[in-house]
């Protein structure tokens, strides 16, 4: 008798505790709701940026035995991961904004990397051009231009390359556009691989690639003036990776900034109009070829910077880096994140790039040690591209707008006011054009006007 009473009191107490906790939470939620819109939308950005910038300081103290994922990527890998995220943001301009299925983005990566190889290494030993390079003895042959300048030049060269590739390509219809971009994505790496014997001239050093490539840095004058590092790679450890990390972070933020600005501009609207309905876009005065070319050039621009940057980071540009798989991998980032969604491509890109370089290996070894008997070990990273393929297909079948859809906030507003269109399968929405359609399918919607 007494025990049941005690139990009853305990459950009432537990209930009360939960109720108090719930009301506290709802009060916090209310307070959050009263903050101005701007603060609310900026807060996650500030938090994420802060976490990212301080990453080098806490990465080493993260435990290495977290279940499933084991640990977070070491700084060196994090740089590579971020470079690929940047490429994803670049591809988002082409695929996400303008809706052009580019399966050859890896070509831009290659052009960027090899531009760095040409302008910041001993490759062209026939000449001796020095301009702002740091830490290179003045007797060294080859072209050695300051890496910062090289990044810019690579961007422009790649953008021009994009325009040239676009000339025959962009007038084609969807499927053919995809295959032709795929073609260029194959031709350029093949060119790079075989480019050591163009009638006797060694342009790309063939299968060996171009290596070493000069490191970035700020030189002695800036060093003595405001303490910026002379050469990235000669700073005391652990700073080299840190410097590279912060630089790529800055580059990504720059890319995101430009992307956002473009999205809300006349050109960005034109891109999205083309993506939504190319014929109507043309009828509204948008010059199709020109606008698509700008999208291509924009994506190429940032792809070129990313390529050049990773070349100087790895101190080399190698043909084995460039592969059709990478183009699809980047596409997967954009699809998973949400076409046109910047948050989406950053989050999805980070997850996928991490999986690719570290994560699948970690997960694989965790599975192998904790779940599988030693007789049946599987090599998870081997199937990485099958996994990306599955992600792509699943997303297209079930959630084509991506994890963080481009229009999430607007949709949330809608849903709040009148049971939004998310209940409908996405693909049937394009049918509001049949005569007699009346109010199209939103449940509980009050007919208007």
């Amino acid at each position: 008798m007494a025990s049941s009473g005690r139990r009853a009191r305990a459950s009432v107490r537990g209930y009360r505790q939960r109720a108090v906790r719930a009301s506290r939470l709802s009060r916090v939620a209310e307070a959050w709701g009263t903050l101005p819109e701007r603060t609310r939308s900026l807060t996650p950005v500030v938090i994420v940026v802060a976490l990212a910038v301080t990453y080098p300081f806490y990465v080493d103290s993260v435990p290495t035995n977290i279940p499933v994922i084991k640990t977070v990527p070491p700084l060196h890998d994090a740089v590579t991961i971020l470079v690929f995220v940047m490429m994803g943001v670049g591809l988002n301009i082409v695929v996400g904004y303008a809706g052009l299925l580019d399966l050859g983005y890896v070509a831009f990566y290659a052009i960027g990397a090899y531009t760095a190889g040409w302008l910041a290494s001993g490759q062209f030993e026939q000449v001796k051009v020095h301009f702002g390079a740091v830490g290179i003895p003045s007797s060294a042959t080859g072209i050695h231009i300051s890496i910062w300048l090289v990044l810019l030049i690579a961007a422009v060269v790649t953008a021009v390359g994009g325009i040239l590739i676009g000339l025959p390509t962009l007038r084609l219809r969807g499927d053919y556009l995809a295959i032709v971009t795929l073609g260029f994505g194959e031709i350029i790496p093949q060119f790079v691989r075989n480019g050591d014997e163009l009638h006797g001239f060694d342009l790309t050093h063939g299968t060996f690639g171009i290596s070493p490539i000069d490191p970035p840095g700020f030189g002695h004058t800036l060093n003595s003036a405001i303490g910026l590092p002379v050469r990235y790679d000669e700073s005391f450890p652990p700073t080299p990776d840190r410097l590279f990390f912060w630089t790529i972070l800055a580059l990504i933020l720059l890319t995101l900034f430009c992307s956002m600005r473009l999205r809300d501009s006349r050109l960005g609207r034109a891109w999205i109009a083309i993506r939504e309905d190319e014929t109507a876009a043309g009828a509204m005065g948008i010059p199709l070829m020109r606008t698509k070319t700008w999208a291509y050039a924009g994506g190429a621009f940032f792809g070129g910077i990313a390529g050049a940057y990773i070349a100087t980071f790895n101190s080399g540009a190698f043909p084995t880096q460039f592969d059709f798989n990478i183009s699809v991998f980047l596409l997967c980032m954009v699809i998973l994140g949400g076409m046109g969604s910047l948050w989406g491509v950053v989050v999805a890109g980070t997850i996928l790039a991490w999986l690719n370089f570290d994560g699948l290996g970690n997960i694989g070894s965790w599975i192998n040690t904790t779940l599988l008997p030693s007789s049946h070990q599987i090599d998870v990273p081997k199937y990485s591209f099958g996994i990306y393929g599955i992600i792509i297909v699943l997303m297209m079948l079930f959630r084509p707008t991506g994890l963080i859809p481009e229009r999430r906030r607007k949709r949330e507003i809608e849903e709040a006011t009148h049971g939004g269109p998310l209940d409908q399968p996405l693909y049937e929405m394009r049918g509001a054009d049949e005569p007699g359609a009346g109010e199209r399918g939103e449940p509980g919607k009050i007919p208007r006007g």
Binding site: L172, I179, Q190, N194, F324, M396, Y427
Partner: protein, 303 residues
């Protein structure tokens, strides 16, 4: 060199037909088609090689003929099954989706199929023992015609004839043609559009399976062989005129010859390392200058 050109040309023809059949009916480039080819070929190696038929170069002629014939059939069925499952699982739900979505899905399926090949057959190339001898069948004024070349023709010719008969004369063939011209009208006429589409995919898959087995006579296959070969076959289909069956064969022969020319004449041609670039160059040139291909018709422009 001629043999290689002939074999690759024939294989390209069979795969190109597969692309063109599917494109004709759904206006979709089935990116996974090349990988279906590879998977079927890998499957065929297990049929011929190890446990199933156990053919080696010491097997009897009857054994070889019987085993190979059976493998062709089995590979065809396998390819048909794989290709139609892809349609059922992935493309069917997206019938009313924007083109971009289906295209992206096709790319994803390609990778999935490739990885299935990788998972089952691992990274190594697989081949079959040399079952067809290189000895001559007959000798016409100094031009030697060997058994293996003859074999290629022996397999490909009847397949093409059968295919032509199927498309022109049977009900299924008529259904296919009707659906590719106007699916809605076809449905109103009582044609089961879904079944016709599945049939088309199955047919394309079967051709891929036969092509893969044929390919094995001369070459080996790896999990990723389908990628390059598929693209080359697709170029052949476009060269001939996508949607046009004769064109696919014609284009394949041309591409096969160009490739053989490029790779065989090392003294004057760029060579094997540049094959992909040359083929893609051709593809880009066709699409820019003559998108309807050699035998295709100019489609009316319009919204």
């Amino acid at each position: 060199m001629a043999l290689i050109g002939l074999t690759t040309g024939a294989v390209y023809a069979l795969v190109a037909l597969g692309y063109t059949l599917v494109y004709g009916i759904l206006q979709l480039i089935n990116f996974a088609h090349g990988d279906v080819f590879a998977l079927s070929g890998l499957f065929a190696t297990t049929m011929i090689g190890g446990a199933v038929f156990g053919l080696t170069d010491t097997s009897t002629t009857l054994g070889v003929v019987g085993g190979l014939a059976a493998t062709f059939v089995i590979a065809a069925v396998f390819g048909a099954a794989v290709n139609s499952s892809i349609e059922f699982v992935a493309y069917r739900r997206l019938r009313s989706a924007p083109r971009l979505a289906v295209l992206i899905t096709a790319v994803g399926m390609s990778f999935i199929v490739q990885n299935i090949s990788l998972a089952i057959y691992d990274v190594n190339a697989r081949s079959i023992p040399p079952l067809i001898s290189g000895s001559s069948v007959f000798n016409i004024s100094g031009v030697v015609y060997t058994w293996d070349a003859f074999f290629v023709v022996l397999v490909t010719a009847p397949v093409l004839v059968l295919l032509t008969w199927l498309v022109k004369s049977t009900r299924q063939g008529k259904a296919m043609r009707a659906t590719s011209q106007d699916p809605e009208a076809a449905a109103i006429m009582g044609i089961n559009v879904n079944r016709t589409i599945s049939f088309t995919f199955a047919l394309a898959g079967a051709l891929a399976g036969i092509g893969a087995t044929l390919y094995l006579v001369e070459f080996n296959i790896r999990y990723d062989t389908g990628f390059t070969l598929g693209l080359i076959a697709f170029t052949a289909a476009v060269l001939g005129g996508i949607g046009n069956l004769t064109g696919a064969v014609l284009g394949a022969i041309l591409i096969g010859m160009i490739q053989a020319f490029n790779e065989g004449l090392s003294w004057n041609a760029p060579g094997t390392a540049w094959t992909k670039s040359i083929v893609f160059g051709i593809l880009i040139a066709i699409l820019v200058f003559r998108p309807e291909g050699l035998l295709g018709e100019r489609t009316p422009e319009g919204a």
